[in-house]
Symmetry: C2
Subunit: 313 residues, 2 copies
């Protein structure tokens, strides 16, 4: 069974009904508490030698990354995160020298986005893993569902730097790797503020966070809405020291990918000015259920390739 087949299989067991607004296919489970009051829940785990390597991941960085991978799902749903629970599966003796930097990285990142760690569980395990649950709240949940033909496709920042780090670390010692790549991979930032604004101003018709690569995550939006997309090669914001290929298919960017109606383009521009941010308009939603890469007059179909945790090796 591939990861995709498993997810389909898992979905057959998921409950979906009022008050659960939407959970299947979304970044968070969305539970309706009251009119314009939704609870968001998400969970993400990191496993040693699968999601990170000890050779270049400090305990502090691990704490940061665990927080960000979960906060990013809250961001993509337009939520304000508030509480978190940690599960620590440790193969190591519990000692301050590593627990302290790990907890500092985790809680300082959570707190920067207003999130409090309120509990958890510790278990012994022959593999080291950490699992976090983050809860959030929103008046207007952003969903993958909603993109329509003609909407413009945006990404919130440059792509490919996180995976470019993984390429470089195979060749170079950590201290020789460019700062922007280290930051992208080891200390990424979740788009909480942007998600909040997109939700509050009702600017986006659909949103996803890019955790498995631009093409794959864009394709998820397309499938959810039974549409396709064209993207414009020269508009893809390729990160410094990253390749176009890495920008298209690399994982763990934690940028937001969102679609916007033509009539809202001006409002989005104003938001960019206010936040001092550039959002990259990279393509358009189309009716035909395919992905196209456009380069000048050249148009070719592309496969939605990206990170697949169960098929990569």
């Amino acid at each position: 069974m591939t990861e995709k087949e498993w997810i389909d299989f898992l979905k057959s067991y998921l409950f979906e009904d009022f008050p659960v607004l939407k959970s299947k296919n979304e970044d968070c489970a969305v539970i309706k508490l009251a009119e314009r009051d939704y609870l968001l829940l998400t969970t993400d785990a990191l496993v040693e030698q699968v999601h990170f390597q000890w050779e270049y991941t400090s305990f502090y960085d691990l704490g940061v990354k665990l927080a960000v991978s979960n906060l990013s799902d809250i961001a993509a749903t337009g939520g304000i995160p508030n509480f978190a629970l940690l599960t620590l599966g440790s193969s190591k003796p519990l000692e301050t020298f590593w627990l302290e930097p790990f907890m500092e990285g985790l809680t300082s990142t959570l707190e920067r986005y207003g999130t409090k760690l309120i509990g958890g569980d510790t278990v012994k395990s022959s593999v080291f893993f950490v699992n976090l649950v983050v809860m959030g709240r929103t008046k207007n949940p952003l969903l993958r569902k909603g993109a329509q033909v003609g909407d413009y496709i945006f990404v919130s920042r440059k792509l490919g730097e996180s995976v470019a780090f993984l390429r470089e670390i195979k060749k170079l010692p950590l201290e020789q790797i460019p700062e922007n790549l280290k930051k992208a991979h080891l200390r990424p930032e979740p788009e909480i503020e942007l998600g909040k604004e997109l939700s509050y101003q009702e600017l986006a018709t659909s949103v996803i966070d890019i955790s498995d690569g631009l093409l794959l995550d864009l394709w998820r939006i397309c499938k959810e809405n039974e549409v396709g997309a064209e993207i414009w090669k020269e508009k893809i914001p390729v990160g410094l020291y990253a390749t176009l290929e890495e920008a298209l298919s690399g994982g763990e960017d934690y940028a937001l990918l969102f679609t916007v109606k033509e009539e809202n383009l001006k409002k989005l521009e104003n938001l960019g000015l206010r936040l001092n941010r550039t959002f990259f308009k990279i393509g358009k939603i189309i009716k035909e259920k395919k992905l196209y890469l456009l380069e000048g007059d050249l148009k070719r179909e592309i496969k939605p390739l990206g990170f697949n945790h169960f098929e990569e090796d």
Copy 2:
């Protein structure tokens, strides 16, 4: 660092303030949403060869156990469980032959107590583990804090059968082990109904679920309230085929241990009649901060020994 020291260390990072009523030392994190409206969150993981052995744990049983270990925390807090999120860390190819019974065991147990699985995450791992988060709600959270000198100590059912199963499985094939031991260890039941009644009727001054052994969990209640306890040897409800030692120190009973004021004993008796249940009055809260085991005129101090996942081997 022992598990206890780690928990103390972890607590130094936990946030505790309004609207988090209580999280440190409690079975669930308790978040106040409004007057008489509290959200409960708990998480528990099971790791292969640590919390269960494949030789005698079917995938269905594993799903049941994961649900129960989390639901039991909601029960001990007097909550009604409603939603759950699953993290599956799999070392195995994702195949229907094991996923189906696992998911059936998990979701059928959750649903029996009104809980819907609404999302989750799947990761590759060289060790097989499952992590569940359960959310619940209550008007009146039951806490560990609250027991007072003179309160009577109750347990909700017979003890020791779960750990007696672990003793027997070393000697006998699964099919020769008595049904009550198999059920206690492989298909335990969470005390959701009892927790709900204790909460609704405000019958208990403090509650904990016995997951690490009667003595250890009783000692947690004592420490939380700066008191001690005496328990009466002949009143300990020792399960069939279990020993007194197993009833005192065995783990994973998932019974509730609770304290009741003298003036409420009659009400509790009525509750037992209504639910057709026997609750076992096993001792009393005392001022001296020690644990005593009483046998006739004999009174001896005992150490709060129990399951400690980090120290047992």
